[in-house]
Point group: C2
Chain length 407, copies 2
Amino acid sequence: MTDAVLKKFAETVLQVGVNLQENQGLEIICSVEKSEVAEAIAKAAYEMKAKIVRVRWECENIDRLTYLNASTQTLSDIPKWLVDSKNYLVENGFCYIAIAAENPSAFNGVPSEKIAAAARARGKALKKFFENVMSNGIRWCVVSVPTKEWAKQVFPNSEDPENDLSKEIERSMRLHSTDPVKEWKKHVETLNARAEFLNSHDFTALRFTNGKGTDFTVGLALGHKWISAEEKAQDGLNFIANMPTEEVFTAPHRLKADGVVKSAMPLCYEGQIIDDFSLTFKNGKVVGFSAAKGYNTLKQIIETDKGTTRLGEVALIGKNSPIAKSEILFYNTLFDENASCHIALGKGYPTTISGGEQMTKRELSARGLNDSIEHVDFMIGTSDLKVDGIMKDGSVIPLFIKGDWVI
Amino acid sequence: MTDAVLKKFAETVLQVGVNLQENQGLEIICSVEKSEVAEAIAKAAYEMKAKIVRVRWECENIDRLTYLNASTQTLSDIPKWLVDSKNYLVENGFCYIAIAAENPSAFNGVPSEKIAAAARARGKALKKFFENVMSNGIRWCVVSVPTKEWAKQVFPNSEDPENDLSKEIERSMRLHSTDPVKEWKKHVETLNARAEFLNSHDFTALRFTNGKGTDFTVGLALGHKWISAEEKAQDGLNFIANMPTEEVFTAPHRLKADGVVKSAMPLCYEGQIIDDFSLTFKNGKVVGFSAAKGYNTLKQIIETDKGTTRLGEVALIGKNSPIAKSEILFYNTLFDENASCHIALGKGYPTTISGGEQMTKRELSARGLNDSIEHVDFMIGTSDLKVDGIMKDGSVIPLFIKGDWVI
């Protein structure tokens, strides 16, 4: 990205994404290889009078060495100071921006049990922090920037894959507009209108069918609420947790999912690819699964804890959204989930239940909301997907025909 | 550095510097711009069967933004988790390698009061950790690698300053040898022999004189011990805290320093240059100072706390040591202090008192050891320097004539 585009990118993420306020602290999570992005955001944040900007640097090359060489026990030992450093953000009113800059094959060859064990330990140790994140106790935003390896995977035949990927990300982030912040406000209005339509019908279930073999009905949680990516934090301020975003989503009922669902795109999880996979549900629970590629990784995800055998999210995205229209497989959930209807194994968001932020775990569970230390999205929206909304009286309202909205 | 040289560098620092043991944790402190160095060290450490390698990344560009924009109060607020993360290293038997990769003018234009206030707050918050470092409760090593800006400053007329600086660092680190580890063992023997000579004479004071105007007598602490950079950690294992190193050093008596001492080289402190400066001592205390450049920064150092008005170290280095012979001004204390005799304002090392690691603060103070939250070396060794050792009976033994050892 040029300096001018990088500046727009930084300002959009700060103003639309985390909605940074004067005298607020900001944490940036960034790869050491992309320090220019963290610098641009820090600079823009201080121009918006941030109190302080801290950066949590990441390095996949060293993480890979550590995964390969450290014992599972060592990998599972999460220092208390690290947990405290995350809770510190909530306690001190910080917001945070995570700049995902991943090499999709970074962890190829690392035993997936080790990655899963470390993720499980991190999830357990950071439970309080993640609960705060999931109930909007902190404003946050995940964005992506290209890496060489990722770009090569997305554009294997390009002469300058990084530049091509950069251009696609700029387009999806609406940075070509003279006023991306205004563009984003308009876009969010459209998404909110869709959420309102869905909420006004209060569907009890959705049914997904396509030619690939998906025939899947998922019940929705009691008191579920469709929301767009624009959410209200506990402090009353809006933020958008994922940019770009094209989805409206809600809470499935953890005991109500039946049938077979086929993956529509590969899923890249912790640097490993899972492709051409299928899940069979009964009473909300995964009772069978298969994968042409990455079977063990899929198994690890499902076996993380009780909650990863059930669903925590269902999201609708039409095939005519800009990311879907690009017809590019990004090998990156942040983009790919915005090109396709998707569901997620694991933790559900209290924000997708009316009044959910104020409910106890027991109350949320009674509504049907799922709980887990994980949350893994995967894409199910094909170009021939049909989605029907099922009303309380059993009547059916078509929501998607041939992969796109009909409302 | 080529990959092969980088590997030698990593192995030398790990084996000679911190003396990493099997199943020991390692922390690397590294600039995000030099991630390839951290990676090489992490790789070599895992080959030596390190338990885990953690990296604490630094970024001067963002630090500069933070210094310029955050309030002094915010800069002085050191989070508890950060303090805990340092104490964690000691409590869990880690060693650490700090890779200094500094831009000497990184903080030009930042008010020196802000830098001083932040350093003071950090020093106070990390007092326990620094006490452990200073009494060898942890094995550690500081090394340097070139940065573009630093190299330009050292070789302003070179076509490839980074390469030139890299070559000098490789030479000073003895990496051209086929077996740098063996070379280092031989070198350390020479330094240890000098320390033994000095210890056997048990001087009460040293007198420094030269044509520049230095006429300065510094008393040595009671029970002082000359040591080379090879030290024994509390766990009984040797390590070298600074690489390269050419010095033997000991503890001055904090109440015994008189006369005028002139700087021999510029001092680069927190990215600011102090040059052509002079300190006047009476009964161990700075009673006057001047500086042609960086007067305010020098003032901030001296006024940090009570201890920074007195001396914590005196070190002897001959002008024929490899770094001195290169006749290069590195604008970097790690190198420049090894080209020249130097003294330090601030904290003294308990290790330079016989049995000092087991003494209380009060006992150390009674021996004359200085205490402070800071420790700032500055160079006083010119090519015409004369150093005399003064014995208990008043007799004088010449140690240096014309800037070099005569023993």
